[in-house]
Amino acid sequence: MSQQETFLKIQNLFKKFGDFTALQDVSLEVYEGEFVCFLGPSGCGKTTLLRAIAGLDIQTSGHIEQDGRDISALPPSERDFGIVFQSYALFPNLTILKNVSYGLENVKMPKAAIDARVTELLELVGLNDQGIKYPAQLSGGQQQRVALARAMAMSPGLLLLDEPLSALDARVRVHLRHEIKDLQRTLGVTTIMVTHDQEEALTMADRIVVMNDGVIEQIGTPEEIYSNPASAFVADFIGTMNFIPGKVSGTGSVLVGGASLNCKTDGFKEGDSVVVAIRPEDVNAQDMNEGDENIIELDVKYLEFLGSFYRADLGGDVLSGHELYADFSVNLVRRKNIEIGSKLPVRFPAQFIQLYSES
């Protein structure tokens, strides 16, 4: 990834609204042609960061460079981006054609060229026969596609999407996810999308920027973020994660209740109080050999059928009252005869255990 060219470089961005700090020392790089998602809970500053990149609400301090040009202080009209909002913001009194050609008409392009470009764009989003309609006559998904076509009309180098799918119902949303991703791939346009939907981010992004409270918690590919969360916040925010308090008992081992587990303890020293984290699907109940490390026998307190798998609630004296979830395939549950009340030896593979400092 390092040989990829940096397209957008954000350095030490701060944004203050009065006394409130909405962005604190945000730095990141976006590579050419990349699809990046800003992911985080509501109010964490995603939109603020996106609007700073667009120049719609310029940051209090810090620098932004796009394509080698310092755009930190430039007004939106002198930057190079297209933007799509959650509300679509289509001009209601203009037809779809006029909406899409809105920006083109302003750059002294010949009429024929504009028409050709608009037709091309509408074809791209699959709406070539809807041009003479008004936005109110289209469905939500169609409107969002028009907004996308309009944003791409002037062939911007950067496409910004602020929760473009959250106003749509679930079915349309999944469908549009693929369309947007395909479109982005076809055009090769560098794209930043804001979302608070982790599934959306995991399926669409090349890299995800996880934000919380105005700071970046982690930047990485979906796989990295999922399997190697850099903080307890990220671990908790993305997917399901078990958290159990523990204590580092030596290099490479940690004590959870009465059980000792082997795992990486980088960055901690003996005696540190930590939170031990493991995902439910990483708790293993098969392929165990005598003498394997990290095997604990636990009680099945509860078993919940979730369609394609079972989620078990495991506990026992050895965890001194703490409980954790484990996901087992339907097949496994049947084969091993797992039921509520049964005792079950499970393995906690060392490479899947994460330690976070108590906070």
Binding site: M1, N12, F14, Q24, D25, V26, S27, L28, A54, G55, L56, I58, Q59, T60, S61, G62, S72, A73, L74, P75, P76, S77, E78, F81, G82, I83, F85, S87, A89, F91, P92, N93, L94, Y102, G103, N106, V107, Y134, P135, A136, Q137, R150, A151, A153, M154, V215, I216, E217, Q218, I219, G220, T221, E224, I225, N228, A230, S231
Partner: protein, 571 residues
């Protein structure tokens, strides 16, 4: 690979970024500046000049509170305060109760003819407030047809002012009351019913509290309108002194401008207090509104509906009786001795007061006010609501735009004399022209128009402006291609409001018209003053017909517009 951004020791915030202004930003800021200068010259500076005049003697030297001392040691002057307060409070209660029952009947009962009653209630808006007074003269004056009903009391004075004021303020109050009654939540009534609460108790525990804020607001509006009105007491007040007529007497009668300024200040204070309280109350009302209410559908109730129907009928008959009598009187030869019908009274050119020219001036003034006023006010509202940058400045603009509502027309007019009649003022040249009349009207009716425009603008997606910036389109282009078309209904509402009010206003223009810019409403005043009451009534009705016609045109245009744009307004 996974680069965690370590929360480093908070780097001392680097140099703040100073956004570069685009050409668009600069044009927008210049526009804001222009609107600000307009408002400062139209309202702030004139008011300031007037205030300072109240602390000066005739020669223009500062004499502190001496004028006020003189005012309060002259019973003939300061007793007017009590007269004004007394009449305003009594009339406010009368209108409030009448309008509440009337509005209750229109929104919460199943009486027939609701549309008719609604239309009739708007009739007083069509004429200057003077008309109510004139009509009362024909009903109860020295030669009035129903004089006997007063049992020896005189209509000229407190009784006449109270009735006349109640008449013309009625529609203003009714509109607020109806709005307040329409927002109450039907679910509360269902709850009350399921608890078997008696109807009377439901009324006092649900209905009244539900529209409490609306009623308070309506009360303050009524009070301010009556307290500051000049037309009614001028015609029917006899020698009963009220503050608004005092200003007129001081300025026109005695040419004592300083004392006029003092009375203006005295008039302004309660108006500002009422206005402030009302703003606070309205804010609470909005909070009530935002809770999603289920609209209430009344069920029929024989007894209640009959009583309410009769009540509405009586009110409607009174309103129609007022205009009807004025119309009849305008058409008879010589009241009350020769009742043959004639159009002689419409022959304005043979009478003092300005003749038909005054009428045409009024129409011109109304059209100019509607045209220029709508442009300035809507653009101003746009800059306040959708502008970029100058955050504090935009808030200030919005506050200045609210001020005119608290300033009585007479006070504004007097302030304009002081401000524009000063040869040192660069705008001195508009004094005595049509321009100053238009300016006064636009300013006097600025606030309601501004708020209407802001409400319409607020309903538009705030990202339209962001999108157009990203498409490198200047704001004025999006303003004309999107904002204006989408807000067209509100724009037409503002212009008809300005037109009708400019046609009917007396108080804002009475001090600043010149002999060649006299207006229909002023002609009504002057003909009445000269004893030509029938022609005065005739002219007042000309104003009414004109407003009615304008309303008709407005309705047709709005309907056409709706038809043309429903393709994109749908849903």
């Amino acid at each position: 690979m996974t680069d965690t951004v370590s929360t480093t020791i908070t780097t001392s915030p680097a140099a703040p970024i100073r956004p570069t202004l685009s050409r668009d930003d600069i044009i927008m800021r210049l526009s804001m500046g222009a609107i600000a200068i307009f408002l400062i010259f139209a309202i702030i500076l004139p008011l300031y000049t007037m205030l300072s005049k109240s602390f000066e003697n005739k020669a223009g030297d500062f004499i502190g509170l001496q004028n006020f001392a003189e005012y309060f040691s002259t019973p003939a002057l300061f007793l007017s305060i009590f007269n004004s307060l007394e009449i305003s409070i009594i009339a406010t209660f009368i209108v409030l109760i009448t309008a509440f029952i009337y509005g209750y009947a229109l929104t919460r009962s199943c009486i027939p003819l609701k549309r008719f009653f609604r239309l009739v209630s708007l009739v007083p808006l069509l004429t200057p407030s003077l008309l109510g007074g004139i009509s009362l003269v024909y009903w109860f004056g020295n030669q009035g047809v129903a004089k006997g009903l007063l049992m020896g009391e005189k209509i000229y004075g407190p009784i006449g002012i109270t009735i006349g004021s109640s008449y013309w303020v009625f529609p203003h109050v009714l509109m607020i009351v109806i709005t307040a009654l329409s927002i109450t939540d039907a679910r509360l009534y269902e709850a009350a019913e399921s608890l078997r609460t008696s109807k009377l108790k439901t009324f006092f525990t649900v209905t009244l509290p539900g529209c409490k804020y609306g009623l308070i607001s309506a009360g303050f509006v009524a009070f301010t309108l009556i307290f500051t009105d000049f037309g009614v007491p001028k015609v029917i007040g006899g020698n009963y002194n009220m503050l608004a007529t005092d200003i007129y007497k001081q300025v026109i009668g005695q040419q004592n401008f300083q004392m006029g300024a003092v009375v203006s200040v005295v008039l302004l204070i309660p108006a500002i207090i009422a206005f402030t309280v009302d703003r606070i109350v309205q804010r609470k009302q909005v909070a009530l509104l935002s809770a999603r209410a289920v609209p209430y559908t009344p069920k029929s109730d024989m007894m209640r509906d009959t009583v309410l129907f009769l009540f509405c009928l009586i009110v409607a008959i009174i309103i129609l009786g007022m205009v009807g009598m004025a119309q009849y009187a305008a058409l008879v030869k010589f009241w009350p001795y020769n009742l043959t019908l004639t159009l002689d009274n419409y022959n304005f050119d043979v009478m003092d007061g300005g003749g038909w020219d005054a009428y045409y001036n009024s129409i011109r003034m109304g059209l100019y006010t509607a045209f220029f006023g709508t442009i300035v006010i809507f653009f101003g509202a746009y800059l306040v609501e959708k502008g970029r940058g100058f955050g504090a400045g935009r808030t200030a603009l919005h506050m200045i735009a609210i001020i005119p509502l608290a300033v009585p027309g007479m006070v504004l007019g007097l302030a304009y004399i002081f401000f524009f009649n000063n040869p040192a003022n660069p705008f001195n040249f508009i004094y005595g022209t049509m321009a100053i009349l238009v300016l006064a009207s636009v300013t006097h009716f600025y606030t309601v128009s501004h708020l209407t425009a802001v409400t319409a603008l607020k309903q538009m997606d705030p990202e339209f402006e962001s999108v157009s910036q990203s498409l490198k389109t200047p704001f004025y282009k999006t303003f004309s291609r999107v904002t204006v078309p989408v807000c067209m209904p509100a724009i037409f509402d503002v212009s008809i409001y300005l037109f009708m009010n400019a046609m009917t206003t007396v108080s804002a223009v009475v001090f600043i018209y010149a002999s060649d810019t006299t207006l229909a409403s002023i002609a009504v005043l002057n003909m009445d003053d000269a004893g030509d009451i029938a022609p005065a009534a005739a002219m007042a009705l000309m104003i009414a017909y004109t407003c009615l016609a304008a309303r008709g045109i407005h309705a047709v245009i709005t309907w056409q517009l709706h038809k043309k744009t429903q393709a994109w307004r749908a849903r």
